[in-house]
Subunit: 336 residues, 2 copies
């Protein structure tokens, strides 16, 4: 080969190699840093069958909290916004609700009063709004709502306010043989209406809170399933590992969360043999999303609170903190 040809060939080979590297580089919306590195090292170790930390394909389970981990939860959980709207519909049919708390406050629409509702009152609102329908009616109603409801800040559907870096993590894990599960304190059937379209997570891989199911018949004698106003599963705190065992039957190898409701899921994940990775999303980017803690001096909040003791526990136990501000190049798919 003549020298000039050799140079052309060498340049071309370098160019091809660069192209390949680029195509194979996972997590493009992540900055290089300890969080991205931990995820990639974990995937490489558990999928390399010469590595002592290798995980068999059947064991490759990844679990993700939803609110604040996969999509925006501020200023209020999207499901709670749906519930408030549904209380309005129910009150129009049942006028006695207009004089009953906490529905009276809900119907006032006063943001300050809404912000002061207690956990018990919010639970009562959710139970009233999310039960009493057949699963088919509920599914149809949420499917309609989720299409037109818009976030007050971005004026976009909630399903567009999913975190692009997390969507990439899910794709990367699936490309490496992991089954991705959502494990949410929110309603299982609520999330199932859009989880496949938005996250690529099919209904059977959504683990969430559930009311009691009741099999019966409609007026034409056709079978129907109704959700009763009685909690069957509450997938939060200890309910996360309990729900994981019930619905999946394996311990996850990797788990993502963002608040104390995810603590036990992360602890349970890390208690397994071999490589296990636990990660917490820290909302420290008021400009591109929101900033709340009160960990690390961030403003305190009632929604998705991240206390300093969780931050300290993460440090002691080797749970990885994902800083939205420094670890993520972009937050949303529509960001430039």
């Amino acid at each position: 080969m003549k020298p000039i040809k050799l140079i052309v060939f060498a340049v071309f080979a370098v160019f091809l190699a660069a192209l390949r590297t680029h195509a194979a580089s996972p997590l493009p919306s992540w900055n290089d840093g300890p969080a991205k590195q931990a995820i990639i090292e974990f995937v490489q170790a558990t999928t390399d069958n010469t590595n002592p930390k290798y995980a068999s394909p059947a064991d490759r389970i990844a679990t993700f909290d939803q609110d604040g981990t996969l999509w925006v939860e501020h200023p209020m959980y999207p499901q709670m916004i749906y519930c408030l709207k549904r209380i309005g519909i129910l009150a129009a049919k049942n006028p006695e609700m207009k004089n009953e708390e906490p529905f009276k406050t809900v119907l006032s629409g006063n943001p300050e009063a809404l912000g002061k509702l207690s956990a018990e009152e919010l639970q009562k609102i959710a139970m009233t709004a999310l039960t009493g329908m057949t699963v088919d009616e509920f599914n149809a109603e949420v499917t309609k709502w989720i299409e037109w409801a818009k976030h007050p800040r971005w004026k976009r559907p909630y399903t567009e306010l999913t975190y692009q870096p997390m969507l990439e993590v899910m794709q990367y894990l699936r490309a490496n043989g992991y089954k991705t599960y959502m494990v949410t304190g929110g309603g299982q059937d609520f999330a199932r209406t859009f989880a496949e379209r938005v996250y690529g997570i099919p209904p059977e891989q959504v683990v969430g809170s559930m009311g009691n199911l009741k099999y019966g018949y409609d007026k034409d004698g056709r079978p129907m399933l109704t959700v009763e106003p009685k909690i069957l599963l509450e997938v939060n705190y200890t309910g996360k590992p309990e729900g994981i065992h019930l619905m999946i039957g394996h311990r996850p190898h990797i788990a993502f969360g963002n608040s104390p409701g995810d603590r036990q899921m992360l602890e349970y994940t890390k208690a397994g043999d071999g490589a296990r990775l636990a990660l917490l999303v820290l909302h420290d980017d008021a400009q591109r999303e929101y900033a709340y803690g009160p960990a690390q001096g961030l403003p305190d909040t009632k929604v998705g609170r991240f206390p300093q003791e969780l931050y300290d526990e993460a440090g002691k136990k080797g749970w990885v903190i994902i800083s939205m501000k420094s670890d993520w190049k972009r937050i949303f798919a529509f960001d430039q």
Copy 2:
């Protein structure tokens, strides 16, 4: 081509075609008949995207009862045999159980007295035997037991007493994009210990009865999950469609059972749009397995009873009856 060569070629082509047909012929342990035909027509219709009954791959859900549908349930459910043995172990540690019914009867080992235990007494035995352990302890104990315990008639492990024609149906459905689920009134964690090895059904595709799960810590502070003696899910009768919605979130396209505990699952399956198939195994082969009804004049039984009204309902609603005697060429893999 000369005539002689042409004939050789034609014979060879026919031979090849026959080979192909043979290789592609599913359900080799099934006799040609209405049950085999219904299964094959169902699979062909739901996987042909030019057919109006086509089912998208995400919707291809198949559910199977276990006891009497996938493996032998006579003279007693294998799980109940495990429970009886475990009562013995518990009574050795807790002598007061020796004077308490129904444990006293269990410990007597008297088959006639055991046969007279009521449904409530059997439930008490099961709850006592299947709860109070961590899920890891339980898993380890059942894994050991299922390896050495042998059926009194065949002197083989229960896991060899699975029905070969049903294993073929599961393989055939999976080869056509169906996800196969077990939906059993028996314990979910019990079946999970062997479902993958025996049926190719991974833990997350086993839906069964469950006690309440409780997250806690062992004496070394390690997380553990314990099963409490309180029913969370009872996956029988109406509990089958309820468990299917909870754990799968789709209506099955095809469902197999063998007794009234499966009735609602079959009804729920058939109530969906498009092609839906419901099938019931009838134990009418005393020589190769067992014969019990009392449908169709078969002997009555307490275990896996198949009443005449279920048989009549199947006829009215187009549910397919699988006769073990006439539809199955062989029952077990070890049969000639």
